[in-house]
Amino acid sequence: MSTSSVSKGCFVFKPSAKKKKKTTLTLEDHFMRGCEDAENSEIRFRLCHDLWDKIKTDTEALQDELNRNILDSLLDFTRKCSSTRRHSDWASQMRASEIPTAALVLGVNVPDHDMTFQSLSDLLQQSVTPHVASVQAKECGALKHLMKRVLERLMDTVVDDEEEEEAEQTRAQLNTSVHCSLSTLCAWYNTNTKKSDTGTPGKKRSSAVRDDPLQPPVVIIFKDLEAFNPKVLQDFILICSRYIERLPLMFIFGIATSPSTIQHMLPHSVTSLLCIELFQSLSCTQHLATVIDKLILAPQFPFKLNGKVLQVLISIFLYHDFSVRNFIKGIQLALLEHFHSQPLSVLCCKKKAALLNVMQLGHQDLERVRQLQSFKRYAEKQEAQEQVHLLTDDPHLKEVCQKLIKDLRKYHKNYYPTLRCLHTLTSSLPRYPLGKQIRELHLICLEKNIWENEDYQSAMKLLKMLAKDQLIALLQRCEETLQSVKSKKMKSARVQLGDTLARFKQLDTGAAESPPSVEDSITSPVKNLQKKTDLFQLQKTLLEMNESRRSKKLSPFEVLRNEALQFIDGLVKSHLSPPESQTLNEVCYYTSSATVRRHLNATPRTSIQAALNSPIYYLQNERLKTEDGVISNAAPDICIVYKLHLECGRLINLYDWLEAYATVVSAAEGNEPDSDDFGKVDDVKHARFIRAVSELEFLGFIKSTKQKTDHVARLSWGGC
């Protein structure tokens, strides 16, 4: 078995699907087991499932959309290549001996590539050629293997479309023929194309080959060019070029780093056999931005992440892997965890369903609502009478909950458009005080009140310095973003913004008349300056100038600009408050960033040390309970040995260690401290000790050293 992971280590292989069928547990059962509050877990499971399905289909559609450009151009390329082969114009004749090659630069996020290649080969098979084989480096260690894989895949893919009998035949042939060489492939290709030439009717392929009935190209996709053994690749290309006249071959190289790897891997004698064309895919950060835009910053998804969780997911993306697929997996994990651990997540769904679910809440659930931090805050603000009602009257609470759910939805409906507006305004400011990307702004808003943020204030100051045309352009873009929003408040905001814009435009027409007076006031002190003055006077005049400028009457444009910005500021203050301030936000927001981090960004060393330090967490045995710093003598040998080694210096004397170990273990056996046998090393203890030490060595805490006999060196220092 093989893995798609690049890291070295042990991998767990789940039993194959056949075995799985035997077990009766379904996904749902798994979900319900250990689930908080089993009552409504079914509903929650269904909600979670539906939501995930929607996220999945959405992201897949998004991915297709994003890849469309590059896939289309690749398809065009293959089509063009196969058609120029038939044309006999001069240019294509000149390069008839070269193998057309597409160098597809995909970025370093290797886990995401699989999907791209899958859709690429699907598209190719649908519209250009049935002969597509994709190979990965790890299955092609030697030329022989590469050749074999290519032949297998090419012949099999087509065979699937033919009748069964033939399939058997070809397979048998492949097995009996001692060697896979390209000449076999050539022969196979010729018979195959001839067959389709004479026109066996009613085949699935009839539509596929329509493009080029004579010679559909044979496309070989190298998924990860960098990982290939250069020698293997060179030889393969050399061989292929010998057959290019008989076999219309085409390569697609998947490149993770930069196109210059081709030159690093292949010498000139080989690259000169290729006719390379470059295709660059969208960068993964852009991809992430669109995913966030569609998934996170969308009011229609009831499930939300709070600032910390989002921060964890984004930082895993930016710091560790650049993989959008992993990011979506992270969202999936948060989604599952949320519905699994939060009983009130039944309310995290579409408006109608949520209102319905409120009515279905049992007493226990309502008690949970009362326990919510945000609800407590809300209740405290109410009058005494109302407070009592809320705490005792269940039907009343249900009604209030409905209202609160509606409020929460309204909040979201206003939040995102306002966020986008603010982003349009601030994303082009110098030095990006509120971040370049909308996700950064979103994170700030999730944390706390944005208007208390220093960066926000400096951004506002910068906005006040904008020139007229810039400001108008920005405001116009704001208006456009508000255009599609349906909420009432946003509509009125848009109208107001439109008004302001209109007034800006009016200014233009009336502007020509007034300005000169302002200039006068500035120029006069400047004139004064030109006279001979001493330092004191200079300072004075400068101060005066400053005063006069400050108190100077604002031009109509400035007045209007301040007005507009105040309006934006008002919008921000009323709609961009952090979700924590909203009542019942716990229903929609997943907050446990620690869980997500623990699951997605595992720290193996920390957990090993934790296990050795306090085995009770893993073994669940009451006898192991100890106070801090004390070695429980009932702990497993390796824990005792580990604890003892913590007390040693850089070099550990094995004999001393053994003695200490024997003492601890003797105590565990219940020997009297005074008896002769106490702390004596017998063979069993000796063997157990040796085993524990070698386990510790295997875990990398100690290593043997030649500096001193009978000593080992300690390798780790300090706590974790």
């Binding site: 890291s7 060489s181 780093t257 030159q263 690259t271």
Partner: protein, 445 residues
Amino acid sequence: MSALLHHPGYEEERLRRLSEQLPCRELQAGMLLSLMGQPHQYSYPSVFIYGHRSSGKSHVMQVLLKELELPHATVSCVECVSVALLFEQVLLSFFGGDAASLLPRSPSLSDFVRVYRQQCSQSPAKQTRYIVMEKAELLRDADANLLPALLRLQELVEDNVTVILLTEIVWDRFRPNTGCFEPLLLHFPDYSKGELQQILSRDKHPSYSAEFYSSYINILLGVFYSVCRDLRELRHLAALNFSKFCEPLAEGKVKETDTHKLWRNMEPHLKKAMQTVYLREVSSLQWEQMQQMEEKENGAMRGLSAHTHVELPYYSKFLLIAAYLASYNPARTDKRFFLKHHGKIKKTNFLKKNEKTSNHLLGPKPFPLDRLLAIFYSVVDSRVAPTASIFSQISSLVTLQLLTKVSHDDQLDSPKYKCAVSMDFIRAISRTVNFEIVNYLYDFL
């Protein structure tokens, strides 16, 4: 011209066609013909033909054997992963598929000889049979007995067979220690400028006159001959730039005969193309697009080699930086760079003799994993937990060929790596994370 190719035993007509297809190689072809003798005559057991790439070795052999319809088997040694493939192909082309299937699984040389003799006794050779081995230098890596046996195959199988080896290296590099039968050596010299001109002019564009194309080739050779004499590369360049050459013609500005004007128009483009000779960076289509782009923006050339920018995750960048530092700094200097109170160490006292040469001239040195991580943790500005993803990033850097693993794959205990990126690359990377790498490099102290 065809005077050289007179030879008894072959039809005049064929020889004439031959010499037409083999421009500038009449001498060699004639030599070969006289070596081969008449079809029924025994020929020399083995011929060794060498010469630089694209000097027409394969072409001459191919045309000779095809045109004269001699029985032959052409085998590329690259393709023959195992000797079995080689034997099979030879038998297949001489005696048909039945003979090839007589070979046992993983046949030895004697199996081959046995089957060959058996077949040969059934259908004895009326004409000399030829085995052409392309890229024969790979035979040196095959079994030790293969090359000597092939050289005297005629004796072994007692048949009229000649083995022809084609290669780019000289015979001295082939000769086994134990000695062997010496083949006849035949050298194919490089084409001269005039010959190149003659050959390149042959593939003229159908819609232009031969003189026009030939004048184009003349200009092309004038520019490129000093840097590139490879026929294949020149042909590629010719195809690439021809449309540009024709442009003024199509616009009607210049007449076909006005070579001087055409030359003036063409020269700057060829100069630009000079920068990318041998790189094969782009296909013709993209070349043209780039030319148009340039006319608009007057930007710099951007071929494959210009796309060196690689986006990496934040910690991967630091891992790469740490790897670079570990590769190019002596381990003893780590204290100086990464300890807070290192004290002043003067470079001169500090140096060992062999370290006086620049580490950058010597290339990257291997370093163990723990040194990489130690440097990484002190270089990265925030505190990083040693998570699994940090370790997997090291492995992905290896697959991306930015690091190379020096120790064996099986060695789990303290693996060793080398950094495989250039100075420019790492400087670009460290600039994106605001890390002044030059301050941490021993060579630039």
